[in-house]
């Protein structure tokens, strides 16, 4: 195996950011954020088993301004990853590969995720304040 002096593809940084590449890396980043969200859900469930004090502490952390900021990121990640995941499933079925369709579905994913995130927070504030 001699693999020296082969031509290399241009480095990532020389490319102009495009909606396709930005949404691709966003899908991966939101997936990691959702892992943190799954951990937070586990923490809340565990805290509830330990009794009122630890449950109140968990609700306090999640309800603080920082907790709400994190939850906002988790909720946006959830709706983005879900809609973009459906976009991926359409690609897996061989549909929507034309560049104009890829761009249009990408914009649709961002729009749907944003609307659902705002809707979720409107309901959450109506329920919990």
């Amino acid at each position: 195996m001699t693999a020296h002096n082969r031509p290399l593809s241009p480095h990532l940084q020389v490319y102009r950011p495009q909606i396709t590449s930005i949404l691709s890396i966003t899908h991966r980043i939101t997936g990691v954020v959702l892992c943190a969200g799954a951990f937070l859900l586990t923490y809340l469930l565990m805290a509830a088993t330990y009794g009122p004090d630890s449950y109140a502490t968990a609700q306090g952390i999640l309800g603080s301004w920082f907790g709400r900021l994190v939850l906002f990121g988790v909720v946006f990640s959830l709706w983005f990853h879900l809609s973009n995941g459906i976009r991926h499933l359409a690609w897996d079925a061989g549909r929507g590969f034309e560049l104009e369709h890829v761009r249009a579905s990408g914009i649709a994913v961002v729009a749907v995720a944003s609307v659902l995130t705002i809707a979720t927070f409107i309901v959450a504030y109506a329920v919990g304040g």
Binding site: A38, L45, P52, Q59, L89, T120, A124
Partner: protein, 126 residues
């Protein structure tokens, strides 16, 4: 001296007869997560700021514990498939990569198992 044949050395390294397994399970769990997540958000948003009694009642009501456990199993399985790809993409040293994969998979099982254990405890009391 190398005693193994060239065929023997490559067996099990590539996509040997199960190349699509990871891909397939990732899609399958992703599809399953669509209804589970929609249920979780629509039903669970009522728990924002809820006190412990209300929260326990919600976890244990009707089919909620079943749906929660299905969500947790599917979600953590989907998560470890995705984290595996990220580790394989970005961690290049073989020892560091294998160590990260083992630690990540153990952590996911531990955290996911804790979540399921908590749902069972909250449902059947203790």
């Amino acid at each position: 001296m190398e005693m193994r044949s060239q065929l023997g050395r490559v067996r099990g390294l590539g996509s040997n007869k199960e190349g699509t397994h990871h891909f397939w399970v990732q899609r399958l769990s992703g599809i399953a997560l669509v209804p589970l997540v929609l249920w979780f958000v629509i039903s669970g948003v009522d728990m924002v700021g809820a006190d412990l009694a209300t929260f326990k009642a919600w976890v244990g009501t009707h089919y909620n514990p079943l749906l929660l456990i299905l969500l947790i199993l599917t979600m953590f399985h989907h998560a470890q498939l995705g984290l595996q790809v990220i580790i394989e993409d970005y961690i290049h040293g073989e020892a560091a990569k294998i160590t990260s994969l083992i630690l990540m998979k153990f952590a996911v099982v531990l955290i996911g198992g804790s979540a399921i254990f908590a749902v069972i405890r909250l449902t059947f009391g203790s």
